[in-house]
Each structure stands twice: as C-alpha cells, then as structure tokens.
C-alpha cells in the first residue's frame, strides 16, 4: 500500500466518491473529534508551561545564579586595604569573570529597606560589599573561601548560587516535565486515534468485505478511512487548540509578584507554536490510522 507522508497533500484534495463508501460511523467519529480536541487543549497548556518555565529558568540562570557577594567586615581603617586585597585575589581566581566593589550609593540603596535612606555610610562600620560575576563554568567556592580566609581575614563570601541553583534547577525540571507531558499527550492522542480507527474498521468489517467483493483495492479502502480520520483529528485538534488559546488569554494576567505561578502563557512569537498542534495531530492521526488500516485489512484478508 502506498500511504507515505507524501500522500498527505493528495489526501486533503479529496475524492468524494471514495468518501461516500465509508459510513459516517457516528459515535466513533465524535469520539475521535473529542479526544483530539481534549488532547490539543492539554497540549496547548503544557506547551505554555514548558515555554514559561524555560523563560523563568533562563532569567534566573542569567541574572542571579552567576553573581556572588563578598562582604569585608573590618575596622574602619582597614576596610579599604582589605577590599583592595580581596579584589586583587579575585583577579587571579579561576572562574571569576569580573569583580568590583559597590559604591556608597549602591550600598545605601541595598540597605535602605532595613536602615532607612538617611544613613551616612562613611560614619558607620558597615561592611564593604564586592560583587563577583562568575564565568560560565563557575568558580570553586570552597577554594576561594580558604584563600580569602588566609589573605583577607575580614572577607566573607556570600555565595548566591547556593540559594539560586535549586530554583533554576526546579525551573529546568519543570520545563523538562512540560516537554515530556507534551510528548506523552501526543502519544496518548496517537493511541486514542489508533484505537478509534481500529474500532471503526472492526465495526465496518462488512463494508470492507463488500468493497473487496466489488474489486476495490486495499489502497482505495485504506485511503477512505485514513482520510476520514485524519480530517477528524485535524478538526478536533483545531477546536481544542482554539479553546486552549482562548482559555490562555482569559487567564488572569501575570502580575509581577506572582509571575512564578501565573506567568504561564505565550509571549511574542511563541504564540505561533500552539498553531502547530493541529498540524501535528493530523500527522499523528494520519500515521496511526494508516497503520491501523493496514493491520485490519491484513487481518480481514
């Protein structure tokens, strides 16, 4: 049987005669439509989840995971010297991309929530903060800590990575979970369409017998069924995708604070991705029904 993917186009063109010989098989048809719609709806959501958690992971990964702080806690007169020493040490540390001491203004901004905006930092024994940007491979925090301990007694390394890494990891895991779910949904849809096609073919054993009796080739018979089911899956998935995207738009918009939880949604060109869902559904249905038809026709031979 010649049912390669290349025929997908020819399929769409249609053959009204071949269409008529296969009965509408009411409930199996509705079941296929419904299953395709449900799966497409779910696919839109998991796709959105994957994309959103991908964005989250990227943001957190880029902005936060790669920065650390060194605090110079020392008597007023030694602070500048120790800061200098720490910066020199960092220059020769592998895995440190850049390091710089924060200005007074920056430190004031950081501390304002706690101490109010009116502090004269010069007059206070407030530690000096050094911002360290890691190189992509990161640095050896333990080694750095040991060296600082030896050369700059007042320095304390505050490694944000320890805090952020699990979050970034979680976002990555969520994204992986999202893609996995999308794959599972595609497989589920394939399985459902296959079973529905099998059910329809089995229920139409007499139709197949009659068509064979009058000299119809297996390709002709298979194509009639495959066409029916592919179009149904396409239609169902289109409905499901449309509903899914509508639901997505109706979701409360992401507020900044709650973006971790409600930021699920598409942004920019990502809105085009769910449009692939019906197409993929049609391809899955085409392959699944083709296999089902070939198997049933062989069994009924």
């Amino acid at each position: 049987m010649n049912l390669g993917l290349g025929n997908l186009g020819a399929l769409a063109a249609g053959d009204t005669q071949a269409d008529r010989v296969v009965p509408r098989t009411g409930f199996t048809a509705q079941l296929t439509l419904f299953a395709a719609a449900t799966m497409a709806f779910l696919a839109v959501f998991t796709l959105a989840l994957s994309l959103a958690s991908g964005r989250l992971a990227a943001r957190w990964g880029d902005e936060l995971a790669r920065s650390s702080t060194i605090r110079i806690v020392a008597p007023q007169d030694q602070r500048a010297a120790q800061t200098e020493a720490a910066l020199r040490l960092l220059e020769t540390t592998r895995g440190v991309q850049s390091a710089r001491a924060l200005t007074d203004a920056e430190q004031q901004a950081l501390l304002a929530p706690w101490l109010g905006p009116d502090l004269a930092l010069d007059a206070l024994p407030v530690p000096r903060l050094i911002e360290v940007i890691e190189a992509p491979d990161g640095f050896d925090a333990t080694g750095l800590r040991l060296r600082l301990q030896a050369e700059v007694p007042g320095a304390v390394l505050d490694d944000h990575t320890r805090w952020r890494a699990p979050l970034v990891q979680a976002a990555h895991r969520l994204r992986a979970l999202g893609w996995l779910s999308t794959l599972l949904i595609a497989l589920t849809m394939g399985a459902m369409v296959t079973l529905a096609a099998h059910a329809a073919l089995a229920a139409n054993a007499q139709v197949i017998a009659v068509l064979r009796l009058v000299g119809a080739t297996d390709t002709y018979i298979a194509r009639a069924f495959v066409r029916r089911f592919t179009l149904r899956a396409l239609g169902g998935a289109a409905i499901g995708t449309a509903l899914g995207m509508a639901a997505m738009l109706a979701l409360p918009r992401a507020s900044d604070a709650g973006s971790v939880l409600t930021g699920i949604g598409f942004q920019g060109w990502h809105w085009a991705i769910p449009l692939l869902v019906p197409l993929l559904a049609a391809i899955v249905a085409f392959a699944a029904t083709g296999a089902a038809a070939r198997r049933t026709l062989r069994e009924l031979a």
Partner: protein
C-alpha cells in the same frame, strides 16, 4: 477462464472437498448443486479467490491464485460478478449506488453507465426502490439487487450463490433469463442452487452442465434431474 486442478479444501477439521477438478470454459453455463452444507458456497469462494485451496491449484484467467498479491485479486474481481448467498451491501448508500459500486470502486465514471443501470434496475424490478437503503428492502429485493450488482460491469464470469432462494417463481425466471442473455453474449456463468426446478427450467433456454457435490467430490449430474 477458471480451472480447479485436484483441489482440496478444509476449514481446519476434516476435508470438506477432495481432489476436485473442474474447468469452466469461456462461454459455458454451469449449475452447481448438492445438499445443504455440502460445500457449494466453499467451491464458489475457491473460484473467485476468496479462499485458497489447501491442496491443488486454482487458476483464474490463467493465473494461479496462490501467487497473487491482494491488489491482483482486486483487479481480477473487476472481471467477475459475484452474488453472495447472504447478500452484502453498504447499508448507508441507496440501492442504486450499491448496484453501481463495482463501477465506482474501479474508478470508472458511474454517470456514463447510467442508462445501463436504469435498464438493469427495471429488469430486476427495483426502479421504484432505487433510492431505498438496503435494510429497507425485502429479502427478494435484496437478492435481485445483488444479482444486478454482479452483472453491472458485464463481467467475463458470473458466479451466483443461490440467487433465487428468496424470490417467487416468476421472478426467478426473469433473473435466470438475465443470466442466459449474458451467457449468449459469451460470458461464463456458474449458479449454485438447491432448486432443481430452476435447473430444469433453464435447460429449455441454454445448454447447461450440472455439477453435483456429494461425498466431498464433484460429479457431473446426468439425465436423472
């Protein structure tokens, strides 16, 4: 046309048919008879390639059925008209389309043959029921529709299994005449039937040979009919 050489067939248990050799020459007219359960339908199915012999060789239009692909069988079927004992139709299509099905299935234009279709429907008395669905037909009407479908392509061979089991005498004579006409046009005809009066009536119109299945063999029945 169709040749069976030392053919045997079994559905899995004992042999139902043994060592059968039959040759349906082009233009011949055969009856196949025998008691219920003797294997008439089975022999017919061997003749149109729906069953493969468990021993021996079946040749249809010269080709060995065991060497055929499924699509080859499909193409052969277009040259054969078959009437099943339990008539099978597409229940969602009107009778007229069911009768025209061999045309559509082989990709021909059913419109072109419309005049033939009308004539044929009139002959088997189904003109008024043309738009009915098969489940809405009476038993006899279904049998007539099945015969009409078998001959619509004017095939080289017609194989009919009890084509008159459910129709009254007058109608069975009409159907027989249709097959006799085809035979006169050079087509090969084989009719399986248990109805000896039909065979007797046919002998008036046509030179028919009568095959009889008994004890797993096929014999040529003589003047004892």
């Amino acid at each position: 046309m169709i040749e069976l050489e030392n053919v045997a067939y079994s559905y899995g248990g004992g042999e139902l048919l043994s060592d059968i050799s039959v040759k349906l020459a082009p233009g011949s007219f055969h009856f196949l008879t025998g008691p219920s359960g003797a294997g008439k339908t089975t022999l017919l199915k061997l003749c149109y390639g729906a069953l493969l012999p468990t021993a021996g060789v079946v040749r249809i239009f010269g080709a060995d059925v065991r060497a055929m692909q499924r699509d080859d069988v499909a193409h052969l079927r277009r040259r054969m008209g078959v009437v099943h004992q339990d008539c099978q139709f597409l229940n969602h299509l009107p009778v007229a389309e069911n009768i025209a099905l061999p045309l559509t299935a082989s990709g021909r234009d059913a419109k072109a043959a419309e005049a033939d279709l009308d004539d044929l429907m009139a002959w088997v008395g189904l003109t008024e029921r043309a738009q009915a669905l098969p489940p809405e037909l009476s038993g006899g009407e279904r049998q007539r529709a099945a015969l009409a479908r078998a001959v619509i392509m004017s095939p080289d061979v017609v194989l009919a299994d009890e084509p008159t089991g459910n129709v009254d005498w007058d109608m069975s004579q009409r159907l027989l005449r249709l097959l006799v006409e085809l035979n006169k046009m050079g087509k090969t005809v084989l009719i399986a039937t248990h109805d000896l009066s039909l065979i007797r009536a046919a002998k008036v119109h046509v030179q028919a040979r009568v095959l009889r299945i008994a004890n797993r063999r096929v014999q040529l029945a003589g003047a004892d009919l």
